[in-house]
Symmetry: C2
Subunit: 260 residues, 2 copies
């Protein structure tokens, strides 16, 4: 059995359950907004749509605001509810996740700025196909990581971590091609460089999606898998299927943590 | 009066004080290591010292390990001590700060990799002076932000935030110069691009140092100043001098937070 939304209702305080559910759904709302920002930013770049690019830049303020709001709710929960075990992990995972979502939002905003610069300087003769391809790949990673968060699904989280290697390969191959192109057509360097920064931003989005996936595994398994090789993470995740998972909303002291 | 190390000793539980002091000193240890990594990485680049670059890459594992260790101690403190008010803020500030320090470590590692690539491809005809200059600037920001953390010094934190605008200007002027150079000497594009990524990494280090400075202000003032303009932050910091600051190690419910 996976930890699921239903297990929340078993918590002793109904209001506490609601608060935990609230930060989780706020996080997913923020995630949905950020995912749309990446999509719109890449679309604005590929289509040269400066109006959409300006919208993305504007909406980044909303992303930032959401982070501050969610972090505030999390801090209040820590201070007032003093959660333990899996409840504590949920709050910490949400705090870490808002930070990555905010940085994905930043990258989307940087891409939108590249759209606006290219509209002034004249469009790049190369790189849009690569940006669209890498963009749709990392946007899918963000979506999958958020779905994994929504369903406490460690198998999907593991799939996201695996995907990141492919993204890195695609990124390197795209930048190599653009460097070769610039050497052949040096007059276009300034424009192509804008696309180079966009590709870098997209590669970073993939990294942040991977971080989100790691928090899902931390949340469900109680193991910090950052800097752990995928094969080892797989063992952690597979192990889960044989065990009764910790239930959210119990605040049990089942991890040897005792109050003083 | 500023919050200082001495105020810890006023806490009701001597062991709790020691734990808070421990995460603070561990954070500063991690900070010192990361600052040295940035210094060594830039030195390896400028001097073409591949041995030093390999050392930086190796030591990044230690940085990652320190983050996991400190985060674990923080999680235990949250679960067992259930800190409130300024104690809670200290723990949350440390958790956020380890994340930024780890990312600064990542950027140092990326710079070391650029050193190794340039040793293979042949050195870049331009950009080392810019990298050294920007490198020493952002390294100083990291050092100042850590000092601000060590002394709970919001005035120094504010100075770090101001510095970031200068770094952004330097970064933009350096990349513009390199783009112009590449247009004149397209055969060197591949080498110069390595320096372009290094400059980008250094600019990111400046961003992370700013984040650290924001956590110091959050810790001392209890206000989340992310996405706040420096002029407004200044008001928050100046206001502090007229008020009795919250004391660390009190876990008082002085922020309207009540237990249920």
């Amino acid at each position: 059995m996976k930890i699921s939304q239903e297990t929340h209702t078993s918590h002793i305080s109904q209001r506490f359950n609601e608060e935990l559910e609230e930060i989780r759904s706020q996080l997913l709302e923020m995630g949905g907004l950020v995912e749309q920002q990446v999509k719109d930013a890449v679309h604005s770049l590929v289509e040269g749509d400066t109006h959409l690019a300006s919208e993305v830049k504007k909406k980044d303020k909303k992303v930032n605001l959401l982070q501050v709001e969610i972090d505030e709710v999390c801090t209040h929960i820590l201070a007032r509810r003093q959660p333990a075990a899996s409840d504590l992990r949920l709050v910490l995972a949400v705090i870490r996740a808002t930070s990555d979502l905010e940085r994905i939002g930043d990258e989307a905003s940087k891409i939108a700025k590249a759209t606006l610069r290219l509209a002034e300087e004249g469009s790049s003769p190369r790189g849009y196909i690569e940006a669209r391809h890498l963009g749709s790949h990392v946007r899918q990673m963000v979506q999958d990581a958020l779905n994994a968060f929504a369903r406490f699904d460690t198998a999907q989280a593991l799939a996201v971590l695996r995907e990141d290697d492919t993204v890195d390969l695609e990124y390197r191959s795209a930048t190599r091609a653009l460097i070769t192109f610039m050497m052949e057509d040096p007059r276009s360097i300034s424009q192509v460089m804008n696309i180079m920064w966009v590709l870098r931003s997209l590669e970073r989005v993939g990294d942040h999606a991977s971080n989100l996936a790691e928090y899902v595994i931390y949340l469900v398994e109680g193991e910090d898998v950052r800097y752990t090789k995928p094969e080892k993470i797989e063992k952690v995740v597979m192990h889960q299927d044989e065990l009764e998972p910790p239930q959210l909303g119990q605040s049990s002291e089942d991890e040897g943590e005792s109050k003083e």
